[in-house]
Symmetry: none
Subunit: 223 residues, 2 copies
């Protein structure tokens, strides 16, 4: 697999490039938007990873340009944390996924794989588990077709769990991914939000969608 990685922070760029290459992904690393556009339009990459903010042509503009040319290559956007509107605009423009910085390189590699595979089958922007379904693009959640309202945090917590169904996440991991800070070991935020999620998603407790693993964390799916 060969991809184009566009990011202006030199350190992050070389770090990510190295990490991805260790996992057998060929990476062309570029820090300038105009150059990136040049490459993206001439080389048939398997996927692009675009930072939104780069000198020259920015990530969103590159994405828009490609889609106007009917170029359907898978694209993952990199955004600073908390720029939710941009995430959504990006998805509207035809991005396939987004990641907030900072991120783990392994996770980026994993998403690249899914995104590339998914393009063949084309069920983009939807994550499913059991009768639960969330739409990244519209930021909507439904259970057996019935819509459910979630707050931002609730949504992102659920999103994180649904990206790796059945996998158990420690509180720390969840906290770092969803909240983005290092965990204050004295907070019980995660527990509280798990409980709020359950209340909305799992209303009648008929089916235990979120499993508690005592002493460790939580996972989507039954025991």
């Amino acid at each position: 697999m060969r991809i184009l990685l566009v990011e202006d922070q030199a350190k992050l760029l070389s770090f990510a490039k190295k990490g991805l290459e260790e996992q057998g992904i060929q990476v062309d690393a570029i820090s300038d938007g105009d150059e990136a556009w040049e490459m993206a339009t001439t080389v048939p990459y398997d996927a692009l990873v675009l930072d939104i903010m780069v000198p020259g042509r920015d990530g969103l503009s590159i994405l828009r340009g490609l889609r106007e040319k009917r170029n359907n290559v898978p694209v993952i956007l990199l955004t600073a944390r908390s720029t939710l509107p941009e995430k959504i605009e990006g998805l509207n423009l035809g991005a396939d996924d987004y990641m907030t910085k900072p991120f783990f390189v392994e996770e980026l590699a994993a998403r690249l794989h899914t995104v590339v595979r998914r393009k063949a089958g084309d069920s983009s922007h939807l994550l499913r588990f059991d009768d639960l379904c969330i739409n990244l693009l519209e930021r909507k959640v439904s259970r057996s077709g019935v819509n459910i309202d979630l707050s931002t945090r609730e949504f992102e917590l659920l999103e994180h769990l649904m990206r790796s169904p059945r996998r158990v996440f420690g509180r720390m991991q969840i906290y770092e991914h969803v909240w983005g800070y290092n965990m204050d070991p004295e907070t019980n935020l995660v527990e509280v939000y798990i409980q709020r999620l359950r209340a909305k998603i799992d209303k009648d407790h008929v089916k235990k969608l979120i499993r508690t693993v005592r002493g460790v964390g939580y996972a989507l799916g039954e025991s």
Copy 2:
């Protein structure tokens, strides 16, 4: 590495089995599709090699069934030369590779290795011994496919034993690894938890999964 090989031509089957085993791959060889389905759904193989044409349930059907059950085990399909359409259908159904008969066993072995390595993200966290299987990511334990509930300590004790099957661990070692402190020489915690593990894992004492080595410690596996 342990795989399931399904192929109805007896000669080819035994030939391939022998060849793969010479390369250090454990092979369960089966010629009937229904039996194969049975095995594939109960034993956590590292990969499957399925001939498309076999008596009983055919290869494509087995593959489809597994994927519907969200079983993501690597699958290599065997096809007669010239049945190209089936290859393609197979890959759409989620096969990882295919080979046309006749083939060189060495090549099959090589492809098995690549395919398994590629999926390693999903299977490297599985520990197996006999029909016992624990999944580190999901923190689940199963015996012959039946789920077993373990508490945190129980799980970690079992994990420790399973990381070096057949090896005998002294109480001290176990205590230090699983509990993390230096052993208080007056406690019998390890014994207690070994007993609890046995009760859950080895319910009927039919098979002695955990062996006691008097005066020394414990080990996974029979004498």
